[in-house]
Symmetry: D2
Subunit: 356 residues, 4 copies
Amino acid sequence: MKKRARAREAGIRLGGLPPGPGNAITDVIGVQVGHTTLIQGSDVRTGVTAICPHPGNVYAERLIAAVHTINGFGKPMGFEQVRELGLLETPVLLTNTLSVGLAADALVRWVLERNPEARSVNPVVGECNDGYLNDIRGLDVSPEHVFQALENASAGPVVEGNAGAGTGMSCFGFKGGVGTASRRISEGDGGYTVGLLVVANFGQREELRVAGVPVGQRLKRWPAEEGEAGSVMVVLATDAPLTARQVGRIARRAGLGLARVGSLAGHSSGDFVIAFSTAQRLPRSETGCTRCLTCVNEDQSTIALLFQATVEATEEAVLNALFAAQTMRGYAGHIRDALPIEAVVQWVGQAQAASG
Amino acid sequence: MKKRARAREAGIRLGGLPPGPGNAITDVIGVQVGHTTLIQGSDVRTGVTAICPHPGNVYAERLIAAVHTINGFGKPMGFEQVRELGLLETPVLLTNTLSVGLAADALVRWVLERNPEARSVNPVVGECNDGYLNDIRGLDVSPEHVFQALENASAGPVVEGNAGAGTGMSCFGFKGGVGTASRRISEGDGGYTVGLLVVANFGQREELRVAGVPVGQRLKRWPAEEGEAGSVMVVLATDAPLTARQVGRIARRAGLGLARVGSLAGHSSGDFVIAFSTAQRLPRSETGCTRCLTCVNEDQSTIALLFQATVEATEEAVLNALFAAQTMRGYAGHIRDALPIEAVVQWVGQAQAASG
Amino acid sequence: MKKRARAREAGIRLGGLPPGPGNAITDVIGVQVGHTTLIQGSDVRTGVTAICPHPGNVYAERLIAAVHTINGFGKPMGFEQVRELGLLETPVLLTNTLSVGLAADALVRWVLERNPEARSVNPVVGECNDGYLNDIRGLDVSPEHVFQALENASAGPVVEGNAGAGTGMSCFGFKGGVGTASRRISEGDGGYTVGLLVVANFGQREELRVAGVPVGQRLKRWPAEEGEAGSVMVVLATDAPLTARQVGRIARRAGLGLARVGSLAGHSSGDFVIAFSTAQRLPRSETGCTRCLTCVNEDQSTIALLFQATVEATEEAVLNALFAAQTMRGYAGHIRDALPIEAVVQWVGQAQAASG
Amino acid sequence: MKKRARAREAGIRLGGLPPGPGNAITDVIGVQVGHTTLIQGSDVRTGVTAICPHPGNVYAERLIAAVHTINGFGKPMGFEQVRELGLLETPVLLTNTLSVGLAADALVRWVLERNPEARSVNPVVGECNDGYLNDIRGLDVSPEHVFQALENASAGPVVEGNAGAGTGMSCFGFKGGVGTASRRISEGDGGYTVGLLVVANFGQREELRVAGVPVGQRLKRWPAEEGEAGSVMVVLATDAPLTARQVGRIARRAGLGLARVGSLAGHSSGDFVIAFSTAQRLPRSETGCTRCLTCVNEDQSTIALLFQATVEATEEAVLNALFAAQTMRGYAGHIRDALPIEAVVQWVGQAQAASG
């Protein structure tokens, strides 16, 4: 299938901060993304996405991290330890709701193999429910699919739309999936990058806003099939040096970006954020009673810009998911149409032209 | 001064749920609002707003309640006990940042006077910083001002804009203040009302969105004076019967409404929500080991509609604050212009016309 | 091996409230416990414990629940959804640290099989690290072991000590494992029962206190092998009718019971509480916008007694684990001695006699 | 009145870590404590205690801090901002429940006077309810009393018992009040000090444990007057360099120390911890996008020792409050007896002798 334009390429003007060179989570140097996409027969539409926060051994050299729960109707794994210690010690996996346990188990095995001394591992796994297009009860994700996503992880462009964990997802009643975006703040404020990756599987059609334009109001007249409730996973990376408390503050802004696209953080939408800073690696082997950390000076403007970067990149990542995702037929004959990009771009363009 | 049109009256189309009869927090039966507005000399621009959650003795008959911190850079009072017990036992006061202690002290005295047996009181007080227009270091709020706001409390229309705690506030670089709005959900889903009152004192001008239209981008060319960092207090009332956990879930949606208007939950913006349900009063005098509570069945659609009502009412309450507030000159000669409503309404109208 | 006396049978006087008839979590009517104990060759010393909160289909008829993290250095699963919704929808599984993903996956499969319409499941799984006695990297727990623990679940006496998830655990430098206890509050205060089950795998020997007597100070001269850091899982059941907020309040008292035995909630000790009320089942099938719930009237004394019951039952459950556990040799030739009960009982008896 | 022996001087053996030179919060260099004690007529028994975290201008040079709520039935002030920013910017005040607003207001005025540029202040104030011995409805604390406590603050020995905020407090049915203690960890682990100050106003007599000995069981036969429900405030200082997350972890251990003395964290007991690290001051004036912080390396043993120090110092500080407090007659003729030290010491001595 032909690659569809990303939101920005299609002319949607979004936010005030510039994106990084790839407008992707991989603009944060060292971050790698890998997908396993499972499209089999008429009913299997699922997958796994792995986000490797740095190219080394994350278990041996951990990153400062935080998690945030926007709406907790979901089944992520690994959150308690990240909250307590402020550390990420594995890649982050995303998959479907019913495969979290399996993915966590596979991730544990993968870490054990690479760390002969490891006897305790905190796998971090997120999920959305792709049960509208995927025969989710079929439990088709296998450990090999997890390993493959981890091995596939690479820097550079991220495949968006119907890929990896996003394969079978729905968003605002259209085909959803993986989206990514990034923002850079000015050199004078540190020159840091915030990169986002979402699995977008949320939203009621009539609520969809693109660059503020309530296109969902027009699109609700588009033929739609109702589906199951959604959710959204946000993975946020930044090279800004931060304490875990500061990563948490930034993570909490992702919900504002979702709101701009039309999220109501619906009752049954498990909406979660997993965030980390690549600026400093914390090796297990370090001796000495104390460590020195560098962190953003919150008395200056950098933190506010990191907030803005997060809000903007979240909004754009969701739109990129919608723009990239293509019409899919799946489980039980269910169909999710792709967002009708041309119409949307036209409406947004008209509104933007009219309002100056 | 001439009363300015509210956002909806001015033709701004907002959200999918209908407002209550007054489009105000007082649409929730029993809720009363009172202001003390302090405009003295050239420098005093502050006040107190009291929200009485029911017309009886709130200390004797408490309401189920929750609080939520969107961004904790602020000085509210009373949050710990509301979190633990899920109960509101006083009216809610809003005032300026440096007067919280005084207001809390006055509220304690007010409750003691009305409850001869009371020996422990949890005053709930919120604040925003009006220091751009108000000589905040002057500490001009007195206990009498607090008592007056409490005594002024009444049902019916709420004075918006430069009133009460909103007197000296700024919002998106324009004059801010008090705003209110409400939403009703259909009879089939319970027929409940969500009412909101905000003290709006947040936002960067270029981020302002009205009904999704990024009017801030045009308004940033408007002459502006920079000011101090802001904050926003949201008080939410509903007649839906809820547990404290459920009130909390609803309270957490207010942030999404703020995002729609352009909030980034800025670093130094203390953004808080205080929410309560008027459906059931919990008298202290009740004996018996157990109580019966009615609460919304979260397996049905009501809770999702309460979320939507909250998001929409929050957005509209902020806009009502901006639409009602009038240009003010205050402390140190600082001036905050009123939002240029005509231009804004025109731009929004054009955008809405263009996008269908 | 000969069954060892439980703490109370051995004459240890503990607390002011009476235990239930079995002094076990199963004193809460309907609660069932099942173990799979894996002792294979010289190195496999692990297992699974299942706590079924009621004898019906928990997915179809959920219970009000809460979780609490005392120290989050651990890998439990299912906590976010319990926090958001206040509901438990599966049995609770306990196992070793590296088998959480596998156990969650097996539990999902078990629930799917029994609920043909289920397309989203929140498995709740806790863990401790049995790596001192168990070849934890061997990953010996299989889905069948999980199913077996679920099928083994029964009311009545609970096997304590080296059983199920407790098989390979250590506690205060001695052999730890599963322990249970209960407390009943008086009929006038509701006549409710609090039942506790712990997997005890925490503590430094010199800190051990039995009924307040610092026996650890004498026992530190006992030959000891140092081991890996521990953790403790507490599962709490009660038949008191409670809201999720109230269950959470009770759950938070378990840490005080651990402290009485000598817990410091050590850095690497993942200490968690999973608690539920059996008083009311919430069927998915219920229609209607609202539900009626019964809950404890917190203005009366019942809640305080439930707190006391929790503290006391936690203390006694840990002691029961220590008293029941028997000396074990396991992984890499490591040995954990059983607590020398006779000496401990003698010292405690002397201290209690001396202090009256 | 004659000064009574502190617990340790009276021969009570407590914990494994050594205290600092003064066994007081002031062992943390720079920490200063000041009391205003109000004993007037037959009914006024209250006061204010100020803890100045360093001898400089705390508003200008802030300290990394955290708060923790053990049981939230209380009215502290300032918690939200400490949670968000991890900073303490004022001295900590403790007073009676109904005077928190007044004390916060006075503290704001005091900070404004010393910081001409300050336009936003987060006063941190804690409270316990002294209403059994104090005519709490009389609201006898005045701003001058607050200023006096702040001016009285000094390093060195801390007056314990019936002093400052502790003047009218009750504890385990005896006279309670202010207590303090400290612990030092070994040079090899950093040589850090943890200092604690409590206002002890909690506990049911029969639950009292001294060094684990359940003396409350014997003391319940002592003539007692029932009183109102209590609470406890814990202020923790350390010179260990810590992030706010780490300060929070340490703060959460104070509850375990309270449990050792017999706390059930009773329903109506507002139990709170305010903690800070003196190791690094964060000046407002600092420019630059980033800061360097030193913090404890949690992969080493220091953090565990800081936990132990906290548990032990909390236990001892409460006992010191009980040992120092003297019999008081107050409001409505109520009398609180001092703990009968001689009997308690004898019982504890006998138990300790008997158990080795």
